[in-house]
Symmetry: C2
Subunit: 176 residues, 2 copies
């Protein structure tokens, strides 16, 4: 099963850090890659690629000018589109209705066009209070994978953390 | 049982949106309030207060100049200090070791002083991959409350979302 994330309407100045958090959460919690639309942003792409280079795995980031075209293409390819929004059906009810299909998880920034609500197969709320698309994505993936995603290993990592009670322990792997 | 969040070394320009997300996640996922240190930031405080005013509940935000003093005071008051950090013990192992005490959840921004790792009673990792303090806080609270926090009601809300399959439905309550 494939899981991809779609980040809508990225704004270079305003969203750079939040979009980076969205991408890193996508990677750490088990998505294979992220599409983003809005403003193309090299430095967003580079900061994500740098994390992949150091911390391993095959996570990708790709810019798509038209989110409408992207969502329609994903749908044609058989992806089930889940829009994470505080206006949707609460995850406590919605999680069990998700079919066993490839998933595209859509996260907006402040104002999401009405069309996205219609194109989505499921509008799913991580609670109906205002909070954060970063949190929404993390909670969705954590609930979906039942916590197992946090124990995955990432191939070809140059850096690895050894969990410690106090302080930091990092292994840097030498290339041979 | 009380749960408070401590956000370390906030930088006005760079962290405003991420710190806002941290605060809104703290509120939506069941903490009673947030302390922050670093640069005092009126507009961060105001955006959090505005959410509380509209969406209800009694969540608070408070600036504390010295995180060191704050953490020591919390400890003296009997709080168990949990530092959320990718270098700590994985939540899948650590969650069951948490005593039944008031909790202070510490989230840093990029570089956390070594002293924080020592002052903390528990350094807990939401996975050992780089991602986001926003996600880490959300996952901790979601796991801790077993998902029940998303069904809480917030007192005196002026706005409430009615979950919808498509589109947005919001109730604005009139004051009487």
């Amino acid at each position: 099963m494939r899981i991809v994330v779609v980040r809508l309407s990225h704004r270079k100045k305003r969203d750079q850090r939040v979009s980076t958090h969205v991408a890193l959460v996508a990677r750490a919690f088990g998505a294979e890659g992220i599409f983003y639309s809005g403003e193309k942003d090299k430095s967003l792409e580079e900061s994500v690629k740098k994390v992949v280079e150091n911390w391993g795995g095959e996570f990708w980031i790709r810019y798509e000018k038209s989110w409408r075209k992207l969502l329609k293409e994903l749908k044609e390819k058989g992806f089930y589109l889940i829009h994470l929004t505080m206006y949707g059906i609460n995850i406590n009810d919605a999680l069990k209705t998700i079919p066993k299909k490839d998933l595209a998880l859509i996260v907006g920034s402040e104002k999401v066009p009405g069309e996205v609500f219609k194109l989505a197969d499921l509008n799913l709320a991580i609670g109906n209070q205002p909070h954060s698309e970063v949190a929404a994505l993390a909670i969705f993936l954590d609930r979906f994978f039942k916590g197992r995603e946090l124990e995955r290993e990432f191939k070809d990592a140059k850096i690895e953390v050894i969990p410690q009670e106090k302080g930091k322990k990092v292994i840097k792997k030498q290339e041979t």
